[in-house]
């Protein structure tokens, strides 16, 4: 996935002079995860900016550049450092369009590696997509595979609004996928129907897509039930139609989220299903989530993260309800 992200950045910078990347260590070093590798040599230090260590100013100056017509792609190294950008994202990036009645806009991308599973330090493994998705006017996108990461990042850079692009870093180098030669874009605000099924809907995003796929396969083998798997891809704005249509068809649903349980995206999904598909439900919507605790250090992170087994159990229990 990291190569796909690098490919999208290289392509977009080559296609459009107004695209630039900025952040800590993104220049000569090529980024702590190597997402910006080779860009400095290719596009120069004026468009590949190694910034001082100051997250609010990375996003704040990005807002200024975007208002002036550039398309900055800011890198915040880890999700735990992204809270320092919240004031600029909520107070300005997501509001400039309304404040100026459309006269000024902030077409900016803020890339944030997030999530656990890579044995990192404190503040490096959080999943805080819900915190940002609550800001009106801010788009929150989470790719899950190399191919959709490249396509979505291209779309995010081309998008007229600020996009928080949260990359599941556990998926950076976890597996390989062919990415087509021709540039692709995927629509922002649209979920992906990963596999069709008739018995139960399973919703996941980011790093949780893999265990969700494994659980769906497992259930098929064990019980012959077909699972309809949806990968949200965009958290905000949410693709309510795809979710509602699927649950109306299957009548059952399990939601998987890596983040803490309460006040998260899964809670919003249960509400959407309540609003749109209550009368179709054969069982309560189940959730497989992280816990309302500080994201644990790596000795305990395996125990914390939802697994294919836990997801399969929730699917089975919902089918048996």
């Amino acid at each position: 996935m990291i190569q796909a992200i690098n490919l999208a950045l290289t392509e977009m910078m080559g296609e459009d002079d107004s695209v630039l990347v900025m952040g800590e260590d993104v220049g000569v070093n090529g980024g702590v995860f190597r997402a910006t590798e080779g860009l400095h040599a290719r596009f120069g230090e004026a468009r590949v900016l190694d910034t001082p260590v100051a997250e609010s100013a990375i996003v704040g100056t990005g807002i200024g550049m975007a208002m002036a017509g550039l398309r900055p792609v800011c890198e915040i190294q880890f999700c735990g450092f992204s809270y320092l950008t919240m004031a600029q994202l909520e107070g300005h990036a997501s509001r400039v369009r309304n404040r100026s009645q459309g006269k000024l806009t902030v077409p900016m991308v803020v890339r944030v590696p997030y999530g656990g599973g890579v044995r990192a330090l404190e503040h490096h493994s959080e999943s805080r997509e819900a915190s940002f998705a609550h800001f009106p006017g801010l788009k929150v996108v989470i790719p899950s595979t190399p191919r959709n990461a490249r396509a979505l990042l291209r779309s995010a850079i081309a998008d007229p609004d600020t996009v928080l692009f949260m990359e599941p870093k556990h998926s950076y180098r976890a597996w390989r996928e062919e990415v087509p030669e021709a540039p692709e874009q995927l629509p922002i605000g649209k979920a992906e129907l990963v596999r069709e099924g008739t018995d139960i809907t399973l919703i996941a995003w980011g790093a949780m897509r893999r265990p969700a796929e494994q659980a769906a396969a497992l259930l098929g083998e064990q019980r012959g039930a077909t699972v309809e798997l949806i990968d949200l891809l965009t958290i905000a704005p949410l693709d309510v139609e795809t979710i509602a249509a699927s649950v109306q068809k299957t009548g059952r649903c399990v939601v998987v989220q890596e983040a803490p349980r309460s006040f998260g995206v899964s809670s919003e999904l249960v509400t959407v299903i309540n609003d749109r598909a209550l009368m179709y439900l054969e069982a309560p919507v189940a959730r497989v989530t992280g816990f309302d605790v500080v994201t644990p250090g790596f000795s305990r992170e395996k125990a914390y993260l939802p697994t294919a087994g836990r997801i399969a159990d929730a699917l089975a229990a919902t089918l048996d309800f």
């Binding site: 001082p52 100051a54 100013a57 300005h92 404040r99 009106p136 704005p237 139609e241």
Partner: protein
Amino acid sequence: MPRSPVAHFDIEYLQILDPEGKVDAALDPKLGKDELLALYRGLVWGREADERMLKLQRQGRLGTFSPSVGQEAVSVGPSYCMGKTDWFVGAFRELGGRLMRGHRFRDILLFWNGREEGSAIDPALRTLCDSIIVGAQVPHAVGLAYAQKLRGEQAATVCWFGDGATSQGDFHEGLNFAAVWQAPVVFICQNNQWAISVPRKLQTRSQSLAQKAIAYGMPGIQVDGNDVLAMVVATREALARAKRGEGPTLIEAVTYRMGVHTTADDPTRYRDEAAAQAEWAAKDPILRLRRYLEAKKLWDEKREEALREELRAQIAEEVKAFEADTTFALDAPFEYVFGTEHAAITEQRAEFLALIARDAEREREEAGRG
């Protein structure tokens, strides 16, 4: 030697026009008659507009706003020096400067009356909306300036903020970025001595705010902020430096907030109004330029009356236009959430309109029964 000085710094103070209206001949920028009169007009325009706003607010015809009485020179001087392609990034006490920039007074009134439409400024004007969050606009200005540099424009960005903003992280982060990038930006601190109720001495232990520039590796200068000629000279020097590719400058404009922080504030709770008013009224930026113009035989009572009358008539017309603007779409916020259409927003907009229509119907019914 184990201990020896590493560096020495000085901070200059600049005043050209003193409170008696006398100009320091050595520092005189020797502005032409038209230039001097344009600056004077800008100062009076700002003052008259501000005083009119205060009356409107007290009459309940305008929302809460932040007056800039006594601080007109800090934005009028620099605004006068700016080119059309320079970016104007203000906080919320730059009324005179905004008017001089070409921002319509009726739009400013709309904005302070809670109508985002007032901020719909023609992008060709390169003027940002007021930034209510203290100091948040500093990084924005640096980003705008970086874009100007990247594109090789012969242009710069001027960014205002108050003394309180220098305590904010965004101020420090922004100045640091600007210096590292050698971005063409001029920072102007409106040091009006008060951050709501907190005096300058509780804001920082720095001897001056200008010296904060030293830490970032850029020039800093302290200027008499009630001296419009000093503001012009300091800004011209800083803009020229920025446009030569020599990076940012910090100007500390020493002034005083003569009135309230906002119309919702009561300064009698925390400061001695009488003493402050007397001291600073003697340093008034308009008064001292008028004295200078009169000594040069460029101004007299008759011209003063004519100017005030002209500006008041113009202000009255703008107020009329502002109050006549009844095109008020309650659902406008739904229009500007995203640049792309999204079903949930479209749906919520329809729901919102249906709900307010129903509330209106209920009110009519209740009125009918009453």
